[in-house]
Every structure is written in structure tokens, then in C-alpha cells.
């Protein structure tokens, strides 16, 4: 359970979420995201784990009619990310996201990584150069692309593209990084690369990752939350969830009796 020496980076409190058609996709979900830890969200498809993840950077705001109810507090400044007065754009600058399928822009490798900085109004060429290099190194991609930064990002392999997307998310020094099934479109070798990368990244920031792959959750996460039908069934240290879950539903899912 939550040791007291751990800092909480963000926490969802009694979060409900409604899609435009009125579907209630999240029911009273609460969850802490610990600083410099990886928290995994698992559960059968349609359980609301991606919906939940996308609340953290207000992606749901892009589609009219979606409605949040509850709080996601971002520490240390205690900002409620979901509050009306909080600008979703500001939230996205602090909490970045990596998607299910690699989605680089049809621009050069360099411009992909620099895009977040450009959006923030960073003008100094040398500062952007430094930051791009740092982000690509952080995403373990630098050695593969340093000689062809002006190449189109589409020319990279799937795994490289996903690391490029991580570099893009990394370049703006986010406090939290959200991963939405980041390896589901990748081959096993690329998956291992991304997993190692995520484990290294947690020294810099906090990670919340949705995965449909229980082994992956067990391999990389420190904490795991099991969701089902829009509800948070259980949250605990990953070891505990996978060896000795306290809820019957969690155990059934983990052991493959269902799901």
C-alpha cells in the first residue's frame, strides 16, 4: 500500500465521466499516481481504462458533449485538472501522452520532436536543438537518427516511430506521461525496447500506462489498478495485485478465469 515516503504526483477523486450520448463510462473512480513510479491500468476491453487515462490530459474536451464530474488533482500546486477555469491546453503542456498506434506527424524527425516546443513559443534555435537532442536521447532514439534528423518521420520503423512519439512527448519536460497501450501495435522486440525505455523514464517523471497485456503490467509497473465496467475494482502494489489480490474479481481476471 501507499508508503508515506512516496509523493503523490496526481490523484483522481470520485471521478465520473459521461460521453456525449449519456453513457456513464467512469463510475466514481479514485486513484493516486505516485511520483517517479509507473502505475498500470488493466482490465478487459471496454472497462474504461483508456477513457480514464484520457481524462488526465482532457482529451475528451476535443469532442463536444463529453462531461467530467469529480477531480483530478495535480500536485504540488493542487490544481484540479478538470476544473472549468483550467485551460486544457495548459494541462496538456504539463501532462503529455503517447498513443496506441505510433502517430508521428508527416514532418521531419526533428520537427516532430520540436513541435511541443514550437507550440510553447520557444524561439531560440539552439535551445530547441538542445532539447530535441536531449529528448531523442531520452527516448533512446538519438543514435539511430542523429544523422538524418531531416528525414520524414514516416520512414522510421514502427518501433522507432513510437519512440519518436515518446521523444515528442518528452521534449516539453512533462510532469506526467500517459501511455495508452503503447506497444499494442508493435512487434515483440520493439515492445521490449519501449518497456525498457519506460522503466528508465520513471526517474524523470511519473507514468500512467494503460495495457491490455497483464504480463506487461507485471513487468514494468510499480502499482496496478484493475478496472471493470467503469469502476475501480482494486488498486495496489503490482506484486500484491498479481500474487495476492484482495478482491475475487481481480483474482478471476488475473488468473484468466475471465476477460
Amino acid at each position: 500500500m501507499a508508503q508515506n515516503k512516496l509523493d503523490i504526483k496526481a490523484e483522481a477523486k470520485n471521478l465520473n465521466f459521461f460521453y456525449a450520448d449519456g453513457t456513464k463510462a467512469l463510475k466514481n473512480v479514485s486513484l493516486p499516481v505516485y511520483e517517479n513510479k509507473i502505475t498500470a491500468l488493466i482490465g478487459p476491453s471496454g472497462c474504461g481504462k483508456s477513457t480514464f487515462l484520457r481524462c488526465f490530459n482532457r482529451m475528451h474536451d476535443l469532442y463536444p458533449g463529453n462531461r467530467y464530474d469529480g477531480q483530478i488533482l495535480l500536485h504540488p500546486d493542487n490544481t484540479n485538472v478538470l476544473a472549468k477555469g483550467v485551460d486544457p491546453i495548459e494541462v496538456r503542456m504539463r501532462i503529455s501522452m503517447v498513443f496506441q498506434k505510433p502517430n508521428p506527424f508527416p514532418k521531419s524527425i526533428y520537427e516532430n520532436v520540436a513541435y511541443g516546443l514550437r507550440v510553447r513559443g520557444e524561439r531560440s534555435k539552439s535551445a530547441v536543438d538542445d532539447k530535441v537532442e536531449e529528448a531523442l536521447k531520452g527516448a533512446s532514439l538519438w543514435n539511430e537518427v542523429k544523422n538524418r534528423l531531416q528525414d520524414l518521420a514516416f520512414n522510421l520503423s514502427g518501433g522507432q516511430q513510437q519512440r519518436l512519439c515518446i521523444a515528442r512527448a518528452l521534449a516539453t519536460d512533462p510532469e506526467i506521461m500517459l501511455f495508452d497501450e503503447p506497444t499494442s501495435a508493435l512487434d515483440p522486440i520493439a515492445t521490449v525496447n519501449i518497456e525498457e525505455l519506460m522503466s528508465g523514464l520513471k526517474n524523470k517523471l511519473s507514468i500512467l500506462v494503460v495495457t491490455h497485456n497483464m504480463q506487461q503490467a507485471a513487468r514494468i509497473s510499480d502499482y496496478t489498478a484493475y478496472m471493470y465496467l467503469g469502476e475501480m475494482i482494486e488498486f495496489d502494489a503490482t506484486d500484491k495485485i498479481f500474487t495476492n489480490p484482495s478482491k475475487k474479481e481481480t483474482e478471476d481476471y488475473i488468473t484468466g478465469k475471465f476477460g
Binding site: 491546453i89 496538456r92 503542456m93 498513443f99 502517430n103 507550440v119
Partner: protein, 320 residues
């Protein structure tokens, strides 16, 4: 049991066919296939051949006139000395006005309808209007321009009026192609941009409009080709059929070096010139008409061909 049932019902209702009969039947069906596919092929070849003959006839008729002087001579009462100088200059200047008005408006409308417009009755009304405008006969645009631009806004029977008229005509084409191009951009790209903190307009400017540029360009070229060949609305706004002067040059030797006087000038355009020669009874003028027609056809085929080729290339190069 099933099998029994089936054979029972077959026996009672339909006479079972022997294998030979079935084969004979298939053979006759296949013959139908062959007959239709021959008819279809012949129809297409016939239609394309007819059009080819028409075009070849036109070019052959006009060939004797297609020389350098034809492009540098003003129209004249003597067919042999008549050329299309004022017509192609007029066409070019009008296309300029058309481009400047229709392209920004069309792209803006396309972006608005695809990316901004909420799903409600108000948007529905705009959509219905755009679809409807695409089907309004061009001469109706001409009447609108005559009533509105010429006599309400008092723009006169000038290049600016003609340019605006063709701009209206081209607008739906640009809108539709912009929307189609934007629609082909996956949501994932937009979300990626939003996720790093881009604003909506930044997403439009840095991503959506850039990535749909090829498709938009296709629409612009097709629209311009249509505007170039359009005749009826230009007649109603009062194109002159005999014009032996050029509009004032847009660039001047005295500061500020750019002049907009040409916008106020009377004009003629290529299709009008062709129409006016065609309306004359003398055969010599019909040759001029054919030559002008050949020029118009080459230009529009070239433009449309470029657009189609461009679209083909874009489809081939899409990686998402």
C-alpha cells in the same frame, strides 16, 4: 434426415437437372457474360472514340489559325487578322480575381465545416447550401452577379465583377475538395498535436491545412479550369464580344508600381471570344472559333489532367 428432406422437396417442386443440363446452362450464362462485356466495352470505346473524333475535328478545323499572331492580335472584322490577345489577357486577369477570392473563402469554409462546426441545425443549413450551390446552373450565378454586383454594388460590367462571379461558381468546388482532403487525415494525428498542447488553430495551421494541401490544390485547379471555360455567367454580366484594347497594366513604372485600375476595365474572355466567332455566319470566323476552342480545350485538359494526376499521386503516397 436433412438430405432426405432436401431431395424430397426437390423431387416435388423442381426437376433435378442432370450434370449435362447444368453444364449447358452454365455455358449459356457464360455466353451472356461475354455478350454483355462485349457490349460494355464497345459502348465505352464508341463513346470515347466519338469524343476523340470531335476533339480532333476541332483541332483540325482550327489548325490553320493556331500560329503566333493568333495570340498577339486583337479581334478584327476581318477573320484572317483576328486574334485572341484581349481574350487571353482578360481570362488571365479574371482568373486572378477568382483565385484571390474563392480560395481563401473556400478553404476557410471547408476547415470550418469539417473541424469547427457543431452538429446542429445551423450547420445543417450551411451544408445544404453548399451542396445545393454546387448544382445551381452557372447562368443563375450570372443573373445573381448581374443583379447584385453590376446593379446593386455598382461594380459595373468589369473584370472585378466577372472575377467575383466565377469566384462564387468555384467556391463549392474548393469547399468540397478541402473537406474531402481534411477528412482523410486520421484523428490520431490531430490528437497527437493536441496532446502536446497545441491550440485548435495551431492544429489547423501546422497540421490539418498542411497535410490536406495536395487535395485542396486539386480542387483549386479543377475549379479554376471550370471557371476558365465558363461562358454563360460571363455573358450575363456583360462581357464585350469585340474589344480592341487591353486593360491597364497591373504593374506601372511610377510608384507605388502596382495599379488596380485594371479591375475597373471592360473585358472579354476566351470562351466568349469563341462564342462570338461561332455566332457569325461566315465560315472564316468558324475557323477562328475552332482555334480558340482548341486553345480552351488544351488549357482545361492540361489543368484537369494535372489535378487528376496530383490526386492519384496523393492517394498513392498516403502512409496513414
Amino acid at each position: 434426415m436433412m438430405k432426405e428432406n432436401m431431395s424430397n422437396s426437390e423431387e416435388s417442386l423442381i426437376k433435378p437437372k442432370t450434370l449435362e443440363e447444368v453444364r449447358a446452362m452454365i455455358k449459356s450464362h457464360k455466353r451472356n457474360d461475354f455478350i454483355f462485356s462485349s457490349i460494355g466495352l464497345l459502348t465505352i470505346i464508341f463513346a470515347l472514340l466519338t469524343l476523340l473524333i470531335l476533339f480532333v475535328d476541332l483541332v483540325m478545323d482550327g489548325y490553320p489559325k493556331l500560329n503566333y499572331e493568333f495570340f498577339t492580335d486583337f479581334p478584327s472584322r476581318r477573320a484572317a487578322h483576328a486574334g485572341i490577345l484581349s481574350a487571353w489577357v482578360g481570362s488571365s486577369l479574371i482568373m486572378l480575381v477568382t483565385f484571390v477570392t474563392a480560395v481563401p473563402m473556400g478553404v476557410a469554409t471547408g476547415v470550418y465545416l469539417e473541424e469547427y462546426a457543431p452538429k446542429n441545425w445551423f450547420t445543417d443549413i450551411i451544408e445544404i447550401n453548399v451542396t445545393n450551390l454546387a448544382g445551381v446552373p452557372s447562368i443563375i450565378y450570372g443573373l445573381l452577379a448581374l443583379g447584385l454586383f453590376v446593379y446593386t454594388f455598382h461594380l459595373g460590367q468589369t473584370i472585378v465583377t466577372a472575377g467575383l462571379t466565377l469566384g462564387l461558381l468555384m467556391l463549392p468546388i474548393v469547399i468540397v475538395s478541402t473537406r474531402e482532403a481534411i477528412r482523410s487525415i486520421p484523428v490520431a494525428i490531430r490528437e497527437a498535436a493536441y496532446a502536446v498542447g497545441a491550440t485548435k488553430w495551431q492544429v489547423m495551421l501546422h497540421h490539418v491545412i498542411q497535410y490536406s494541401f495536395g487535395g485542396i490544390l486539386t480542387g483549386i485547379i479543377i475549379g479554376m479550369a471550370r471557371a476558365l471555360g465558363e461562358t454563360a455567367p460571363i455573358i450575363t454580366v456583360g462581357a464585350l464580344t469585340f474589344i480592341a484594347f487591353l486593360p491597364p497594366a497591373p504593374l506601372t513604372s511610377v510608384p507605388p508600381f502596382i495599379s488596380f485600375e485594371w479591375l475597373q476595365s471592360g473585358f472579354t474572355v476566351l470562351p466568349i471570344q469563341m462564342f462570338s466567332w461561332l455566332s457569325r455566319p461566315e465560315h472564316a470566323f468558324h475557323i477562328n472559333a475552332a482555334a480558340a476552342g482548341a486553345v480552351i480545350i488544351m488549357l482545361t485538359l492540361l489543368m484537369n489532367g494535372t489535378a487528376i494526376w496530383l490526386r492519384y499521386r496523393i492517394r498513392k503516397n498516403i502512409k496513414w
